[in-house]
């Protein structure tokens, strides 16, 4: 696929969002995905690595990936420019269970870089064609500091909407940040969304997840309505190469989205 646009998301320039268009138009109709799924991005000569789709399938003709510069491949990606070609192998994984979520209220809890597929889901739900299928939408999003907040313009737009409640927070503020300061688990406690007919969707760093889950439990979210999108080192994305399994489940092929109920039956090796 062709890189159309590269947006630097964070002040430290370590996170960029890449908008890709299909170099071969025919692929467009074959690439049907749901929010929460991922794809293997590949740069020839460097290899491939998995990234969740940050765009919603309602944004036609384009795919977005938010990429944190960490290793060989991501560095190569960060050095690319509009017009460059990257390979996309996907969609892979299960994605968020849209049919199950339909009719319910949705609480989205995202921390840092893990927010990208939740952003995709939110945009999907906010689309005119879909908004009616979901109840109240609450988004709780946190970053380490204001400079690391992703999708700033879009969040500003969401903030103006009356069919979505947005709570943004940073772990520590600096300069002209007027929003909340505090760790996500505390903000969740503060916001205290009702668990009634509500799904909580969580994605973020392991430590955030560890402290958020008890809060959700306390608020009455049952484990089968608490969904997590997991991160593991993956390679093939097909459940073959053997590195991303948690117990008998492969995060790449059986996940990356699991309910807490499913996870509690698996070994705590993630």
């Amino acid at each position: 696929m062709k890189i159309e646009k590269v947006l630097v998301e964070t002040e430290d320039r370590n996170i960029k969002t890449f908008s890709l268009s299909f170099a071969n138009g025919a692929d467009k109709s074959d690439f049907n995905y749901v929010p929460g799924q991922f794809a293997e991005l590949s740069v020839l000569g460097k290899g491939e690595a998995p990234f969740g789709m940050a765009s919603s399938p309602t944004q036609e003709g384009c795919l977005e990936f938010t990429v944190n510069k960490a290793g060989l491949l991501t560095t190569a990606l960060h050095n690319m420019e509009p017009g460059d070609i990257v390979g996309v192998r996907g969609p892979l994984g299960n994605g968020y269970p849209l049919e199950q979520l339909e009719g319910g209220n949705i609480v989205i809890i995202g921390g840092g870089f893990g927010f990208s597929t939740l952003r995709a889901l939110t945009n999907f739900m906010l689309d005119d064609r879909n908004r009616g299928r979901f109840g109240d939408i609450t988004v709780i999003y946190g970053a380490r500091n204001p400079g690391l907040v992703l999708y700033k313009d879009e969040l500003e737009e969401w903030g103006k909407r009356d069919d979505l409640s947005l709570y943004m927070t940073v772990d520590s503020a600096n300069g002209d940040w007027n929003g909340r300061v505090g760790l996500i688990p505390n903000i969740v406690k503060e916001v205290a969304p009702s668990a009634d007919n509500t799904y909580a969707l969580v994605c973020g760093p392991p430590v955030m997840i560890r402290f958020t889950l008890p809060v959700l439990q306390e608020l009455g979210f049952p484990s089968d309505k608490t969904l997590l999108s997991l991160e593991m080192r993956m390679k093939c994305g097909l459940g073959m190469c053997g590195r991303c399994n948690i117990g008998s489940k492969y995060v790449c092929a059986d996940g990356p989205v699991f309910t807490l109920a499913e996870l509690s039956k698996l070994p705590q090796e993630h």
Binding site: K2, S42, L44, G45, K46, G47, E48, A49, N68, A70, G71, T74, G83, D84, I85, P205, P206, E231, M232, R233, K235, C236, L238, G239, M240, C241, G242, R243, C244, N245, I246, G247, S248, A253, P267, Q268, E269, H270
Partner: protein
């Protein structure tokens, strides 16, 4: 059951015939090692051996294979997929454990969700002629994992040495095709009786069975048990067990590039290596040899059976023979099962 009798001279003739149509891969001696390799004449084939050092899996899943090559110019690239191994191959002289391992690999690479074209291509082009194990080694434990020295799983033909000849059992349609045109006598009553005796003797000589079939729940119940610590303490974290194993199939996908050209390569990897599950963030869910060896054991004896209904081990005993510190998987399993029962 179709059973023919093959004398030594018949076998040389048969191999000669097969050589005309197939690339023949058979056990041969290289230095002091018995390995599978391509042979050009029947004379090179080794018949009298216990097993090869490496398993036969690399015929279907080579240690490294090019998936595609590419060349890129400016903003475009041309990619060419590689299916090099289309030549029909005949794998002669595998042991029943290795033949059975192909069925396990099929579960992974010919799965319900995804299929691996490279693997399937080779699989479809490979015929398997097995030689039953008249003299199992003490490290063999195939009978503990639903196999046996004469298990026919995964074989197209099965040869059983009855002393002065081989009884050849046809175990698949493709196997029957291999004997087409060959003028072979049917195995007589005496031959079949000898065969039966040979089989009984071999089976009787097997080490006592381990009680591991159907115990995946037991293993699961002791995932967090402290026993894993002492059990894995001497493990060096090398890849001998996984690389010699006929069923281990973990791999990595890497690119190798030179200037504007390069290739994407699939290469064996091992769950025993420290970097295997290391995430970009620096977090590693399997931090020490303990977690990594636990993964290997659990994968074979709990996860694999859970996902595919079959134990992910064929009991060939290679890991037992070659582990540099003699970490014997049978001991590990026995201790684990004991622990799970006590609990």
């Amino acid at each position: 059951m179709i059973a023919k009798i093959v004398r030594e001279s018949d076998l040389i003739n048969l191999l000669g015939e097969w050589l005309k149509e197939y690339e023949l891969i058979a056990p041969v001696k290289r230095d002091n090692l018995v390995v599978f390799d391509r042979v050009d004449s029947a004379g090179e084939v080794l018949f009298n051996y216990s097993n090869t050092v490496k398993s036969a899996k690399e015929l279907l899943l080579p240690q490294s294979e090019t998936l595609f090559t590419y060349s890129s110019v400016d903003h475009s690239a041309s990619i060419e997929a590689h299916f090099n191994d289309a030549a029909p191959k005949l794998l002669f002289g595998v042991r029943p454990c290795d033949a059975k391992s192909f069925l396990l690999l099929d579960k992974v690479f010919d799965g319900e969700r995804y299929k691996d074209a490279y693997y399937l291509n080779r699989r479809a082009n490979t015929l398997v002629v097995t030689i039953g194990c008249v003299k199992p080694r003490t490290t063999c434990f195939c009978t503990s994992v639903n196999g046996g020295p004469f298990s026919e799983d995964g074989s197209d033909l099965m040869l059983i040495d009855i002393g002065d000849a081989y009884v050849v059992k046809v175990t698949s349609d493709r196997g029957a095709g291999l004997l087409e045109g060959a003028e072979l006598e049917d195995a007589g009553e005496d031959d079949l009786a000898s065969m039966k005796r040979v089989i009984q003797d071999a089976e009787a000589s097997m080490s006592p069975k381990l009680a591991i079939e159907g115990r995946q729940e037991n293993l699961e119940s002791i995932f967090d048990d402290p026993i894993w610590g002492p059990l894995t303490e001497k493990c060096l974290g090398c890849g001998v067990c996984t690389y010699l194993c006929p069923t281990c199939h973990c791999f990595d996908i890497i690119d190798e590039a030179r200037d504007s050209q390069g290739e994407r390569i699939r290469v064996w990897d091992s769950c025993q290596f420290s970097q295997f599950t290391l995430q970009a963030s620096g977090f590693n869910p399997r931090l020490t040899n303990k977690e990594r060896l636990r993964q290997r054991v659990m994968h074979k004896f709990s996860y694999f059976p859970k996902n595919y209904g079959l134990t992910g081990c064929v009991g060939c005993g290679r890991c037992i023979q070659e582990c540099p510190v003699n970490l014997d998987i049978r001991d590990v399993l026995n201790d684990l099962l004991m622990e799970s029962v006590i609990k």
